[in-house]
Symmetry: C2
Subunit: 151 residues, 2 copies
């Protein structure tokens, strides 16, 4: 299905949630409360996002996290990369030299790079700001509507 990890889904939701209140810092428990994602998971995700430079963290009492950039400047590609590692469709294309024992297959691996580039390019076009638009500006689509097409 090509589905991305639930983690990435969470990450985008969390960042979108933070994007709505950029002024103040938010703690992991606050975000867990706001999104409904279990706290340990939120904490882990925030750590990854901070390491990737998408968030700034402030340690100590009254610390917390905040977006390091404007939502328009954060692409979905970056979020995915932060949570799941570099965006690549096959296991064989990055780093690991010889884990695929089948020659005929490996002969084609280089071509997956085209696909990777295409996908990465597409994901870089979509920003965090894009992900917020309809939900918070145009209202949430009615449940009946979602049930038919996309829930």
């Amino acid at each position: 299905m090509f589905k991305l990890n639930k983690m990435t889904d969470y990450a985008v939701v969390m960042m979108a949630d933070m994007a709505r209140m950029t002024d103040d810092m938010r703690t992991a428990p606050q975000l867990a409360e706001a999104t409904g994602v279990p706290l340990p998971t939120v904490s882990k995700l925030l750590k990854n996002l901070a390491n990737a430079g998408l968030m700034q963290s402030q340690r100590g009492a009254s610390g917390g996290y905040s977006l390091s950039r404007a939502p328009e400047d954060i692409s979905v590609a970056e979020i995915i990369a932060a949570v799941e590692g570099p965006i690549a469709l096959t296991a064989c294309v990055d780093g690991s030299p010889d884990q695929c024992g089948v020659e005929t297959i490996c002969a084609m691996r280089g071509n997956w790079d085209k696909v990777n580039r295409a996908v990465r390019g597409a994901l870089e076009q979509v920003t965090l700001a894009d992900m917020m638009v309809s939900a918070f500006e145009f209202g949430i689509p009615a449940p009946a509507e979602r049930a038919g097409a996309a829930s």
Copy 2:
């Protein structure tokens, strides 16, 4: 990581292999031999590809499979869709009504559709013919080359 299933990888390899000899029909055992992919797996994949209309199957003795279209007319998107189901990055976007119990998350699900469309569009640009080019025309890229770059 965003990696696609090994199945899809196999599928592309198999189809590319078949594309090189469109004249005659090929059987599952032949393809398994040629690609090094275990026979039962090949068989399962061929079935899916045939159901998706990417291949034509001929039952009975001296039967087999053949591509139903020219390699230039088969997109990677189609192959992925045939093997892994419809291309959608989240589990929640197609069909299933209420499997995500978190409201805040679901409020944003509609926006993943943008990402899905972007990715699907990108994958539709890459054809099976594209996947064959360098491997069989320009030669296989050196392992050292791949190890360094090629994200």
